[in-house]
Amino acid sequence: MKIDRREFLKVSAAASGAVAFEFVAPTASAAPAGVTPRAGAEFTTPPGIGMTDDAHEVTHWLVIHPDDRVVIRIARSEMGQGSLTGLSQLVAEDLDCDWNKVSAEFASPNEHIQRKRIWGSMSTGGSAGVRTSQEYLRKSGAQAKAMLISAAATQWNVPAEECTASKGVITHGKSKRRTTYGKVAAAAGKLEAPKDVKVKDPKDWTIAGKPMRRLEMPDKVLGKPMYGVDVELPNMLKASLVQCPVFLGKVKSVDSAEAEKMRGVKGIVKADDFVAVVADNWWRANQAAKKLKIEWDEGQNGQVSTDTIFASFREGLEANDLPAARKIGDAPGALASAAKVVEAEYSSPYLNHATMEPMTATAWFKGDGTLEVWTSTQNAEASIATASETSGIPLEKCEVHKTMLGGGFGRRGAPQDYVKQAVIIAKQFPNVPVKLIWSREEDMQHGFYRPASLVKMKAGLDAQGNVVAMQTKIACPSILALLRPEGIDKGIDFTAVRTFSDTTYTIPNQLVEYAMRNPHVPVGFWRAPGLQNSFYRECFIDELAVAAGKDPLEFRFAMLKPQDKNRLVLEAVAKAAKWGSPLPQGVHRGIAQSDGFGSFTAMVAEVSVNDAKIKVHKVYFAIDSGYVVNPDTCRAQAEGNVIFNLGQLYEANTIKDGRVAESNFHDFPLPRLAEMPMVETIFVPTGGFWGGHGEPGALNLVPAVLNAVYAATGKRIRSLPMKEGDLKA
């Protein structure tokens, strides 16, 4: 994975006849140096703890080489969202180094533990990478800069205040002496980090706020081994597994005689709830796994189906004494006296994350009593804890090497099932690294699904068409109950009720009630947990606008305070989309707004419906995230969110006989290139706060599109996935 960018540019220039690269860095001759091997990506040489060769740690967030290369440590994960680059930009900005000489490495989870969690959270979710670490990262950059200046000043025997630093060069103005960060890094690293340092005002940014190219480029287009499934170690074996099709089921017995005889098979591992085949080649392991004759104890859930689950949701909506997630005024009373009452029921299915890289982990019990794990993880601390707990080897003797993720979307954070399995399997093969890769079928049928849910909304309008009351009942499995029970507050899982429980619409009487119903199907944090509530609320608001005879944009404005940032993004998106202006024949608009994950967002979709088929032509997306650290990767998140969530119209995991019925992409169809609409991103960064980008863009796509579908057809889609005939006349 070690790539010399200058070398790369030379060969590529030779190949193309001219240097045609537009690295955002000032000169095309020196691009960022990429991700260094310590990232765990150079799989043949497991990284050790501590510093590489002659590099010096200045603060725990950055290491500087004598030749001025700066290596920034990244505690979070990179799954395509761009945090690796954005976080590096923040450190580099306040360090005032040369961006061309910046590369990144993942901080070692083992070293993290030995140094008392020095790098803070390693969890990567909730669109929180930048917004929850920007403060200490920027500070660390500024501290390092002060230490480097101080080291130079000491060498020159001049006051530090007389020295300045820019782009990695320290200058003493009076004597015109100059040195570089690399030359004083060793001395700087021995200094105490100053407590009070000032970070830059974002107005003065020159590295952050710019559309820097991803640091893991060009490796990502060269086919370098960098993902969890790519790990290759000496004498490594490969494993494929079979889990009980009915969730929570156990292995009763297994007849592996046929599998054992197959070519390349090295062993069968029978665990409580899965059976794995270990072989010298993954395909051989997987072929043999298909020959296992397993008798399962399916437990009590073999009869559960989507219908029985929704029946439990319906029972939940009818239950009395539901805990209230929000109570303002007297909604039932106001509804009783409203001029007009509108009622609707909406629902959504379970959804698999369907990361392109299936779940995977490699474990290696080494002869010296240590355990090393390589995995695509959104939370390396959870991974190392799982490795230690499962193996019985103390944390200090475990290491997790973080690889690039072939997609995460929430699947690889809290649940570390695949790490646990890899450790269980590899324990049977001392001194031999074993790589577990799930088949796509296992991945589709053993996810932690976006919860299905059923919601009933009831709103009252006065004679002028103003909303005077809204009552919402939500029946939805609790993600927190399964993965983070301490997060449940008085029977409320905020991920199940958000968007209703925290709406900024100024409706005077509101009641939001939650019926937690937890079928046996595992649920998890799926990109923008709770986003189905944006679909429900924003489509229902559209219904109310129709009932009130008002324009849906004006109708929303009437319920948003003048300074509400939701209003500002609505204004921005409406302006960009020229809301109200004529559209080509057959094209219709829909609008939606939601806030979440620290940001405020609004969307307009331009849609046509022909022969009952929906075509999304263009999507306008406005976001106020306070600041934009990398406009290009943030824009990529906006574009990606549009097509990712367009899939929601057609995707579903259905439950039959206690198991997921879909098994692969033929029956869980993801959107393809031909369906990609044009996306126009409108950044409205008003400053003063830090919002996320990975998930906010997910919130409004479904309601904006379905509101446009209503405008086009007069048909209201209230239940996803869409069914044959939903749009037929």
Binding site: A14, A15, G406, Y627, R672, E680, F683
Partner: protein, 165 residues
């Protein structure tokens, strides 16, 4: 069995029915070609067989005798291919996992159709990308073809009160 991969003839001792994908990944240690579905649905495993984009996860290696196989690693062997260059310039990948297959599909399309239209790209590049890089994939293919993109995503707009980008 002898296999011609990226211009090198190599011997492998495997079953005829083993999919080419797993010969490349587990026997020849060429990890650039990815496993996504195993049923030719996602295209992450796309390689070139005699210049034709082929889903290696359903291609038995026994059918590869005498054929020229090219993987992403081979595409950039003499420097970097114009497709990869266009991918870099347009910052196409997000997670990047599907991009190997995506670039192989793009290169095969350009070889038979040097100036593809949007419709040509939509019909020929059917690979799945969960991150949603399709807009940039399309743009990069046009760039590699040396043509201007007719329907590019507009550049991000900034509100006047926003900080400078």
């Amino acid at each position: 069995m002898k296999l011609n991969v990226n211009g090198r003839v190599q011997s492998v001792d495997v079953e005829d029915e083993m999919p080419l994908l797993w010969v490349l990944r587990d026997e020849l240690k060429l990890a650039g070609t990815k496993y996504g579905c195993g049923i030719a649905q996602c295209g992450a495993c796309t390689v070139h067989v005699d210049g034709v984009a082929t889903r290696s996860c359903v291609t038995p290696v026994g059918s590869m005798a005498g054929k020229k196989i090219v993987t992403l690693e081979g595409m950039g062997a003499r420097g970097i291919s114009r497709v990869q260059k266009a991918w870099i310039e347009n910052d196409v990948p997000q997670c990047g996992y599907c991009q190997s297959g995506m670039m192989m599909a793009a290169a095969a399309l350009l070889a038979k159709n040097p100036k593809p239209t949007d419709a040509d790209i939509e019909a020929n590049v059917t690979n799945l990308c969960r991150c949603g890089t399709y807009g940039r994939v399309k743009k990069a293919i046009h760039a590699a073809a040396g043509q201007k993109v007719a329907n590019d995503m507009p550049a991000p707009t900034l509100a006047p009160n926003g900080q400078k980008i």
